[in-house]
């Protein structure tokens, strides 16, 4: 039972990563609920030793890479399929390593799931980037399956080493 759930969550997150690595972005978007929240805040170096990691993160609605709802995320997805979005022409070659999957909560309707990631991106001839961090997802049970209702992505860098972020996490 607990095992089934664990397996289901792993399968879900691996499947999701696969859709992104295979650039099936529209299918990926279908893994989200309509009321989705997709948030990736800025992170900085505080002066005082922070009590919580969250003290290093920008507040909601302040500084972020992503703060998307379904519509704004949909537009990003369409861009990823557009011939006019130069940042992805030719497209990035990405690989997602999703690890340390932890089910933190389950109220029967929604699960809180944390996972760590390395997203490797290589593009053009020699571009290479590593994006490393953790994700905090709220997964909702929707007719027998799971959907992502809320995702918070914590990227560990204070200064982004990549020229841009034209991919998803």
């Amino acid at each position: 039972m607990a095992d089934d759930l664990r397996r289901a969550v792993e399968d879900f997150l691996y499947r999701e990563a696969e859709l992104l690595d295979e650039r099936r972005f529209r299918e990926w978007l279908d893994l989200f609920t309509d009321d989705l929240s997709y948030f990736m805040p800025l992170r900085h170096n505080p002066f005082q030793r922070p009590a919580e990691i969250s003290d290093e993160l920008a507040k909601p609605d302040e500084g972020y890479y992503f703060n998307d709802n379904r519509e704004t995320l949909r537009i990003r997805v369409e861009r990823a399929h557009s011939r006019n979005a130069w940042a992805e022409m030719p497209p990035s070659r990405t690989r997602r390593l999703i690890t340390n999957i932890r089910i933190k909560n389950d109220d029967g309707r929604e699960l809180e799931v944390h996972s760590n990631f390395i997203v490797y991106r290589t593009r053009l001839e020699k571009d290479e980037d590593l994006f490393v961090g953790t994700r905090r997802d709220i997964l909702r049970r929707v007719d027998g399956g799971l959907k992502i209702a809320r995702r918070t992505i914590v990227l560990d860098q204070a200064v982004l080493a990549a020229k841009n972020i034209s991919i998803f996490f």
Binding site: M40, L42, H44, N45, P46, F47, Q48, A58, D61, E62, G63, Y64, Y65, F66, N67, D68, T72, I75, R76, E78, R79, S82, N84, A85, W86, A87, A158, V159, L160, A161, A162, K163, N164, I165, S166
Partner: protein, 430 residues
């Protein structure tokens, strides 16, 4: 080296070496970044006594610090003893900063207040060993600038006509503006490729950002695009911007706003805005993007300000902030920041597409063959620009006049021995 020969305004040609040569870059460090007024931060980032942010002036790390009496100061982020960095945080609040090496302590005025084992420094004059302050520091309506050169003209004189246009972003509402950020990221491109782009490149939008139009997320409404009349404006001292001039049908200044909420917000406060800015700036002219020489760029419509920090000839570190009216309601601030960051940051649906162009323009400048051929800055639509009420020198939106003026001033700065010379040559221009 004869810097001036690198820019040919008549021929509309620029030598690619300006984007690649180490020698030119070192000259920039000495003659641009050690002499110009550079943007340090926004007053809303350091509202209270003791508040500080660490920033850069070119490649120089500095601390922008509001002292306990509320006065702003800026200092090289370096301990005077052996040279260790005194502050490693991005921001915070501190009465004192302690050096992690031998414990020298500086106060918020940059004064050296504690020297452990002071008795071992019999002749040390603490007055002489405080943090190294910038030569001048001034704010313009929330924007804090500093220069390492005591001979630099006053900030207002330096900004020239640019100030008049900056007001349109900074001075719309009582209380001015506030920022969030910065976004910081590294791009393998020369800083000038970005500065010139924001300073006049309306030309690239239709191609580079075609997807934005395709998906209806342009920084300007379709209305503005249809109208399609804009101006390049050169404000002297290298400052450049592009602006819309509202259509004859007097659609109003909001005609260019990217999203309806913000147009509505502007309408709702048009009286206050007109009271503060006057009729021309409130209704007639809508700046889109511009560059305060050398490396501060502003996007009035996307509400972002950003600095292109040089990190060598072929690398820059971008610092970008969203800027909003302080007096705006929370929901509008949220909308403004969303308009800004959704479009402009490393993940912005606009900005994503800019980087690669600048990277490749920089790469081409390293090519032994390519540098035999100068870059083309010959755009110059012959279009009447009758808006006599607008300060600065106007040209059609479809022109490289801003870029050429930017590089002409750049060459003058690199060529001039001191500010005296710069002022003369600059004044010759207008």
């Amino acid at each position: 080296m004869d810097v001036k020969s690198l820019v040919d305004p008549e021929g509309g040609l620029v030598d690619r070496r300006i984007f690649a040569d180490r020698e030119i870059y070192e000259l920039e460090r000495e003659r641009l970044f050690a002499r110009c007024w550079l943007y340090l931060g926004h007053e809303s980032e350091v509202p209270n006594p003791g508040d500080f942010v660490t920033a850069y002036m070119g490649e120089e790390p500095v601390i922008l610090w509001r002292d306990l009496d509320g006065r702003l100061g800026a200092f090289l982020n370096m301990c005077r003893h052996r040279g260790n960095r005194v502050c490693r945080a991005d921001r915070g609040n501190a009465k004192l900063l302690t050096c992690s090496y031998h414990g020298w302590i500086y106060n918020s005025e940059g004064k050296l207040v504690v020297v452990p084992m002071a008795e071992a420094f019999p002749d040390l004059d603490r007055q002489k060993w405080g943090l190294i302050p910038v030569a001048q520091l001034e704010s313009y309506k929330g924007l804090i600038f500093a220069t390492f050169d005591p001979e630099a003209p006053a900030l207002l004189e330096y900004l020239g006509d640019m100030a008049w246009y900056l007001d349109i972003l900074l001075d719309r509402r009582e209380g001015g503006t506030e920022v969030t950020g910065p976004h910081r990221w590294l791009v393998d491109a020369n800083w000038k490729t970005a500065a010139e782009n924001f300073g006049g490149d309306g030309y690239h939008i239709a191609t580079t950002h075609a997807s934005a139009r395709e998906l209806g997320i342009d920084t300007t409404t379709s209305q503005a695009r249809r109208w399609n009349k804009g101006r390049q404006i050169f404000c002297g001292n290298g400052h450049v911007l592009i602006a819309w001039v509202t259509p004859p049908d007097d659609a109003g200044p909001w005609f260019a706003q990217p999203v309806p909420e913000l147009a509505d917000y502007m309408r709702a406060h048009s009286d206050e805005i007109e009271r503060r800015l006057g009729p021309v700036r409130a209704r007639k002219v809508v700046p889109s993007a511009g560059t305060v020489f050398p490396n501060l760029s502003v996007h009035w419509l996307a509400r972002t300000i950003r600095v292109w920090h040089p990190r060598g000839p072929d690398k820059m570190e971008i610092w970008s902030w969203a800027i909003v009216d302080k007096a705006a309601p929370a929901a509008i601030k949220r909308a403004m920041r969303s308009v800004s960051q959704y479009r402009f940051n490393a993940a912005g649906v606009f900005e994503q597409d800019d980087m690669e162009n600048w990277i490749q323009v920089t790469a081409a400048a390293r090519s032994a063959i390519a540098r035999r051929f100068a870059a083309n800055y010959q755009m110059s639509l012959n279009e009447e620009t009758p808006e006599t009420e607008l300060p600065g020198r106007l040209a059609s939106r479809w022109s490289d006049s801003n870029q050429l003026n930017f590089y002409l001033h750049w060459a003058r700065m690199l060529d001039a021995k001191d500010w005296g010379e710069i002022k003369t040559t600059a004044s010759q221009l207008r």
